[in-house]
């Protein structure tokens, strides 16, 4: 087979769908579609999800709409060996939900201590300033995992949903050229 035939042979179908439970039935949806349809979250509570979406949006524009909260929530329902989170290649032990809850709780405590409001209620400039200080490990009111590590992990999560998909590649002008396209759930 020549190159183009082989690429065509190996190309899969739709990209980036996750297995979400809707009305007791598993359906494949992108995280963004799951968010748009209001698929209930199973691990994160609404406040945690709101904070995560707001943080994700600060880190990578479009992360909220791309479904960062639904992506992470769905991944946290899986056995650690099946998770696709960047956290699995770190030194953090599963269950990974403990990490996210610790982080999101620490963010809320820190923003309340500094701004007397929740992160999601801050203005865009305040959110950027908060994340920039998190990046540099300069949040004085922080009580959670190491700040630069938290910044890096959440940033990678946001980058995954915004830029790591076929649509994300296309937006960057990078041809995806899969050997086997990610047609199954991720």
């Amino acid at each position: 087979m020549d190159e183009m035939e082989r690429r065509a042979f190996m190309r899969g179908a739709a990209i980036g769908a996750l297995a979400f439970s809707v009305g007791g039935v598993e359906v494949l949806l992108t995280p963004g579609a799951a968010r748009a349809r209001g698929v209930p979250l199973r691990m994160l509570d609404p406040q945690e999800a709101e904070t995560l979406e707001a943080l994700g949006e600060t880190l990578a524009i479009g992360a909220r709409q791309a479904g960062i909260a639904h992506f992470i929530d769905q991944q946290l329902t899986l056995a650690p060996a099946h998770a696709l989170l960047t956290l699995r290649v770190s030194e953090i032990d599963p269950p990974y939900v403990d990490f996210y809850r610790a982080v999101l709780g620490a963010v809320e405590r820190a923003t309340r201590a500094t701004f007397t409001r929740r992160y999601a209620e801050l203005g865009a400039t305040e959110q950027r300033d908060f994340v920039d200080r998190l990046r540099q490990g300069k949040l004085e009111a922080w009580q959670g995992p190491a700040q630069p590590f938290v910044y890096g992990t959440l940033r990678n999560d946001a980058i995954d949903v915004v830029y790591g998909t076929v649509e994300g590649f296309a937006r960057l002008g990078v041809p995806y050229m899969p050997h086997i396209a990610p047609a199954r759930s991720w």
Binding site: E3, R6, R7, M10, T58, L59, A60, I61, P80, A81, H82, A83, L84, L85, T86, R88, V89, S90, E91, D93, R128, V131, R135, G152, R155, N156, I159, D160, Y163, G164, G168, F169, R171, L172, G173, V174, P175, Y176, M177, P178, H179, I180, A181, P182, A183, R184, W186
Partner: protein, 525 residues
């Protein structure tokens, strides 16, 4: 608990080293069982996505990383059949003669019990066995002559080519990199189509991963793979003179004993010491093959120095393979740098995707939000980088030990204590400074030298030597104390050079496996 029928050889770990041993033993008609901690990946599982590819990494029992420069879960860490070689860069630089006698020549580090000439024939044979693309003649400005590589070098791309004038500007000569990626069809395997997904595992057969090469051959010749099976101990006879097999927990977490005439430990460099320590008996109170107290000692990592730069053109940096387009051993001589001792290996030209640790987005980890988007949408098209792999000398302070924490079966986990010494840090600093000059010479518009010294690869911990007084194994990987127990992989390197370890660990495994087969009647009694 079941005791399974005795086999000729049980191999712990179905990665690159285990695959070589399995293939050689299976060719010799031996009954081989590979016990693999992770899943049994097939080529059809290798989805082209950095996100999906995380399934191939970083699972299993925790490892504790300590010291001033913790090695962490490096990109080398595999999970499942094929190990790290399932999704590797397939860079196949070899060690050079000066790597084998550092202690004798310079009074630094350790000597190998063998020379380059002992390994050289196995480099050539591995090149033919699994398929390497490269230009041997071009490399021979740095090394003794050998056989040509079976395939010509891979096609080059602008994100590699753009650096060549920069290297030249500082007096560094480059040559095509030797890579385990097919530049032409080879042994029925397809040629690379340069889509840059090696890091997610290549399902086309163009990348020389074990599934496509020696593990596949071993299975075809009857070797069995038992996946999702976690080995806890190597078992010995009552007198402690021989190993009798391994204890493991299968996919259903049931305890099993696999008896075998020979045991080969080919797990990750951090896990072979775990097994030796945890197999202690009254006859081997400090662990198997550890009368010297050297199990776990001399753990090493490479110090990776990366300089990224933006050029004023679309470099199509997503094309190619993860392998090097260009390399240089010019700074391999151990005294090349005034400020530090050891080798440096320059390379460039690996394809880059937007995400993940090695992805474009993490070239500028300081950017987020609008600035990140502007960088990725605009400037990143002109991004390219070079990396210097810097040698770390073996130090007994860098070590693998048992942790006070236990795995789910009640056996201690391991902790890896690692700090770069002054020489490795000096080589890193010199490489970063040199890399900036190379980037300037190449005409880069913006230059970002890597700030943090990044450990790459994991070597040592079960080093080879001449006797049980100075080492754990001999040059074949055979333990000094237990004739039918072997250790395979880059854990047996007594020094690491600055070259990626894969070619050498394959060559050493081939040499060790053939020695085992040749002496089978006296070893596997």
């Amino acid at each position: 608990m079941a005791t399974l029928d005795k086999v000729d050889a049980v191999i712990v770990g179905a990665g690159a080293a285990g695959a070589v041993f399995a293939a050689v033993l299976a060719r010799a008609g031996k009954q081989v069982v590979l016990i693999e901690q992770g899943p049994d990946w097939q080529l059809s599982d290798l989805i082209s996505s950095d996100i999906w590819a995380r399934r191939l990494r970083g699972s299993g029992p925790p490892i504790r990383y300590e010291g001033r420069h913790p090695v962490g879960r490096t990109g080398d860490h595999g999970w499942g059949t094929g190990g790290a070689a399932l999704h590797y860069s397939a860079n196949f630089p070899r060690l050079l003669p000066a790597d084998f006698n550092m202690k004798s020549a310079h009074g630094r580090g350790l000597d190998w019990p063998i020379s380059y000439a002992d390994v050289a024939p196995y480099y050539d044979r591995i090149a033919r066995e699994i398929g390497i693309s490269g230009d041997a003649k071009a490399e021979e400005r740095w090394r003794p002559p050998g056989e040509p590589y079976p395939m010509p070098p891979l096609k080059t791309f602008r994100h590699g080519e753009v650096w060549v004038p920069g290297f030249r500007s500082v007096g560094i000569t480059v040559a095509p990199g030797a890579v385990g990626v097919n530049s032409t069809e080879y042994k029925g395997r397809a040629a690379c189509i340069h889509d840059g997904w090696c890091g997610a595992g290549c399902p086309t057969g163009a990348l020389a991963n074990p599934q496509a090469t020696l593990l596949g051959e071993a299975r075809a010749k009857g070797a069995q793979v038992r996946a999702m099976s976690y080995v806890t101990r190597v078992l010995t006879d009552a007198g402690g003179a021989r190993v009798t097999g391994v204890e493991y927990y299968d996919a259903d977490k049931q305890r099993q004993v696999q008896d075998a005439h020979v045991v080969v430990l080919a797990a990750f460099a951090s896990q072979n010491p775990r097994l030796l320590f945890n197999s202690a008996t009254d006859k081997h109170p400090n662990g198997l093959a550890n009368a010297s107290g050297l199990v776990g000692k001399y753990m090493m990592a490479h110090a990776g120095a990366t300089v990224s730069a933006i050029f004023d053109e679309d470099l199509q940096n997503y094309l190619g393979s993860f392998g090097y387009q260009f390399v240089s051993y010019d700074l391999h001589p151990k005294t090349s740098r005034k400020a530090a001792f050891g080798s440096t290996f320059w390379n460039t030209g690996a394809a880059q995707k937007p995400t993940d640790a090695r992805g474009i987005a993490n070239v500028r980890p300081d950017l987020f939000g609008k600035e990140l988007d502007e960088f990725l949408v605009g400037k990143a098209r002109g991004l390219a980088r070079i990396t210097a792999i810097c040698e770390e000398l073996p130090s007994a302070d860098n070590r693998i030990e048992l942790s006070s924490e236990k795995d789910e079966f009640g056996f201690p986990l391991v902790r890896l204590i690692h700090s770069f010494q002054a020489d490795a840090i000096g080589l890193f600093d010199a490489a970063i400074a040199e890399g900036v000059e190379i980037a300037k010479g190449a005409g880069a518009k913006e230059i970002w030298p890597g700030r943090a010294i990044g450990p790459q690869h994991l070597l040592g911990g079960t080093v080879m030597g001449k006797s049980a007084n100075d080492s754990v194994v001999d040059s074949f990987g055979q333990t000094h104390e237990l004739a039918n127990l072997y250790v395979a992989g880059c854990g047996i390197f007594p020094t690491e050079s600055s070259a990626n370890p894969t070619f050498t660990l394959n060559a050493l495994s081939l040499r060790g496996a053939e020695q085992l087969v040749a002496n089978w009647s006296s070893i596997a009694i």
